[in-house]
């Protein structure tokens, strides 16, 4: 099976985030970037499918040095090779432009049996890139996947999807397909020290917009469908009320409020 696993670089969750001067993004110069958490689950699933069915796992990412960093972490976990989409023109892409660019790269690499992505990213969290990528590729897709099985040498896939209310459904898809992988589907492995040492020697392709044959207005900010006008920190609206009186009086007042105001009992 040829499996391509997408990895998005996001600021380390432990970082302190500061909004930039134009209020359109965060100051990201001094931040440490890691792979978006759900993408690690996707990659682990890809590695397990490869261990079971053979083939190769390719990690794919778009961005600057931070993308190279997460690709190296993917190689260290066990991916066979990496594709880095690196071009200043890619900057400012929304989900639409990102999906178009990623899909082109997948086509340029000769397609795949399966493309995996995290269900959503840790930063924007819209969960759209995976499905849009499927659309650009003209492939079937399944989202919020909590279990994957491959059959017929990877030509057919069974995906278990998580629905609302604790219900799962199983869908069958022909390959090639795109799956977006839910958090917690597996336990992503730690990179081995051997894997880290070997990562440098693995095939690492770098492609620009021109390599992908994409016009300037199809990528990055120019290719985006929407523009971020402002990002802001939500106003804190915590309201604390201390109920006075004896314990009995305070309890009675609390019950009254929970019933009438909060309407939770």
């Amino acid at each position: 099976m040829k499996i391509i696993s997408c990895m998005k670089p996001v600021p380390d969750p432990a970082s302190r985030l500061i909004i930039n001067e134009t209020k359109t993004w965060i100051k990201d110069q001094d931040l440490t970037f890691v792979a978006s958490e759900a993408d690690n689950y996707a990659l682990e699933e890809g590695l397990r499918l490869k261990e079971k069915h053979g083939g190769e796992v390719i990690v794919l990412s778009m961005g600057g040095e931070e993308a190279a960093r997460v690709l190296r972490s993917g190689l260290a976990m066990g991916a066979d090779r990496a594709i880095h989409l690196l071009d200043p023109k890619f900057k400012g892409a929304d989900e639409f432009a990102a999906a178009a660019t990623l899909a082109k790269a997948i086509e340029k690499d000769g397609g795949a049996d399966l493309v995996l992505a995290g269900v959503q990213s840790d930063d924007l969290g819209t969960g759209m890139t995976g499905t849009m990528m499927a659309e650009f590729l003209g492939w079937v897709h399944a989202t919020v996947v909590v279990g994957v099985e491959a059959a017929a040498g990877g030509k057919s896939l069974k995906a278990r999807r998580e629905l609302e209310g604790g219900i799962n459904e199983t869908v069958e898809l022909p390959a090639p397909a795109v799956l977006t992988i839910q958090f917690g589907i597996n336990q992503p492995r730690y990179a081995s020290l051997k894997g880290i040492m070997a990562a440098k020697k693995k095939n690492f392709k770098v492609w620009t917009a021109a390599d992908l044959g994409l016009a300037d207005d199809a990528v990055g900010k120019a290719g985006a469908m929407y523009e971020v006008k402002e990002i802001l920190i939500p106003e804190k609206k915590s309201k604390v009320e201390i109920l006075g009186g004896t314990a009995e009086e305070a309890t009675a007042a609390l019950v009254e409020k929970l019933r009438k105001e909060a309407k939770v009992i």
Partner: protein, 388 residues
């Protein structure tokens, strides 16, 4: 909140991508797997053996040895960073990995036959076999040359008799590297612990390294085949070479423990309000924090430079002694200062401070006591050995 590291002098900038990635991976492993369970193991005086398979999968055992034996072939700086992070978790865990790699796999690699390497190194790297290193005896610690354990030739190989003490991993080992005098010369033997006459009772009631197994080894007419003699190990120099490997790791480990204590001290003193302000705002507290950070930074630089000297093949063992001696002192002093700043909270297992402090009391005198490392430096400076 995961550990963010202590890096006042941007030492990260001196590390390669691989070194950082190794450090970050082990750092995450320690935060996710070790920190949540280690206090319970310390309290119960049990080794967290459940961590062995994952540590093996990550390649933490014998990480600097070549790939052909199933190892990662990483450089010594990366290896040191692994030791730093493991000891940030617990000295007992770092001790386990030190012993398996530097004191069991290394002597087989350095002094063993190709058959011995092929047989043992992959099994030890995978954690399928656990090893220990048996040099110290009840009456011979700093003076291993005086050892009483003897290996006598017989028609079936060698017969070993003697007692070893303070042996990390002894009771849980499948194999022991036993040092004994054979025909007047110290030699290393690979002894399978299931061999008749071999016993390894655990030393109980330790108040330090409680999450690590420490044992006595009793060898009573233990027959070891000729094929298990480490052929290139003749002389005291061989076990001392092993100890130098382990001491190198401790130089990094001491800083790891210091970082854990410093991190807590900063966190705690910023949050602890007395006289209507955080105690971190008091001059006496700030002086201690400033001292800790300075000593940690100096220790980091010592360890980093030591790693490069080792990788470049320029390392003299007295340089390792300086770093081991200094950095364990830094660890111990940082733990004691952190305990001081944290008042009564500093003595509970709820925080890692007292655990590190108790552990470091052992680290201070094992793998060469603080005194012996001082005298190694003294001899280097003056040319006059004080211990002879």
């Amino acid at each position: 909140m995961p550990f963010q590291g202590v890096d006042f002098y941007r030492i990260d900038d001196l590390l390669s991508d691989e070194e950082r990635m190794v450090r970050d991976t082990v750092r995450r492993f320690v935060d996710e797997r070790v920190v949540p369970i280690i206090d319970k193991h310390f309290e119960a005086a049990t080794f967290p053996s459940e961590l062995i398979p994952e540590m093996a999968q990550m390649g933490l055992f014998g990480g600097t040895l070549p790939e052909e034996y199933g190892c990662a072939n990483m450089n010594n700086v990366a290896y040191g960073l692994v030791m730093q992070e493991l000891e940030r978790g617990d000295s007992g865990l770092r001790s386990f990995v030190s012993v398996q790699g530097a004191l069991v796999m290394y002597p087989i690699f350095a002094f063993g036959t190709e058959e011995q390497k092929q047989k043992w190194l992959p099994l030890l790297a995978k954690g399928q076999k656990i090893g220990c290193f048996a040099l110290t005896e009840p009456d011979h610690g700093s003076d291993p040359g005086g050892m009483e354990t003897r290996a006598r030739r017989s028609d079936k190989g060698w017969v070993l008799n003697g007692t070893k003490r303070w042996i990390t991993n002894g009771t849980i080992s499948d194999v022991a590297i036993v040092w004994a005098k054979a025909e007047g010369e110290i030699c290393g033997f690979i002894v399978e612990t299931k061999t008749p006459g071999f016993q390894a009772p655990e030393i109980k009631n330790k108040l330090s390294l409680r999450a690590s197994v420490t044992s006595d080894l009793i060898l009573d007419d233990v027959l070891v085949p000729e094929a298990n003699l480490l052929p290139n190990s003749a002389g005291l120099k061989a076990p001392l070479m092993c100890l130098n490997q382990a001491r190198y790791g401790i130089a990094w480990g001491g800083i790891g423990a210091a970082m854990a204590c410093y991190e807590w001290a900063v966190e705690y003193t910023k949050g602890r309000i007395q006289f209507d302000k955080p105690i971190a705002q008091f001059q006496l507290v700030q002086e201690k924090l400033a001292h800790m950070l300075t000593e940690i930074t100096k220790g980091q630089l010592l360890a980093w430079r030591l790693g490069h000297l080792k990788d470049e093949g320029k390392l003299h063992f007295s340089q390792t002694s300086m770093a081991k001696r200094n950095n364990v002192r830094v660890g111990l002093e940082t733990a004691r200062l952190a305990r001081d700043l944290m008042g009564a909270n500093g003595i509970t297992l709820e925080y890692p401070i007292f655990r590190h402090m108790c552990n470091l009391e052992s680290v201070y005198t094992y793998e060469g006591t603080d005194h012996i490392h001082t005298l190694i430096l003294g001899e280097h400076i003056t040319g006059l050995p004080a211990y002879k």
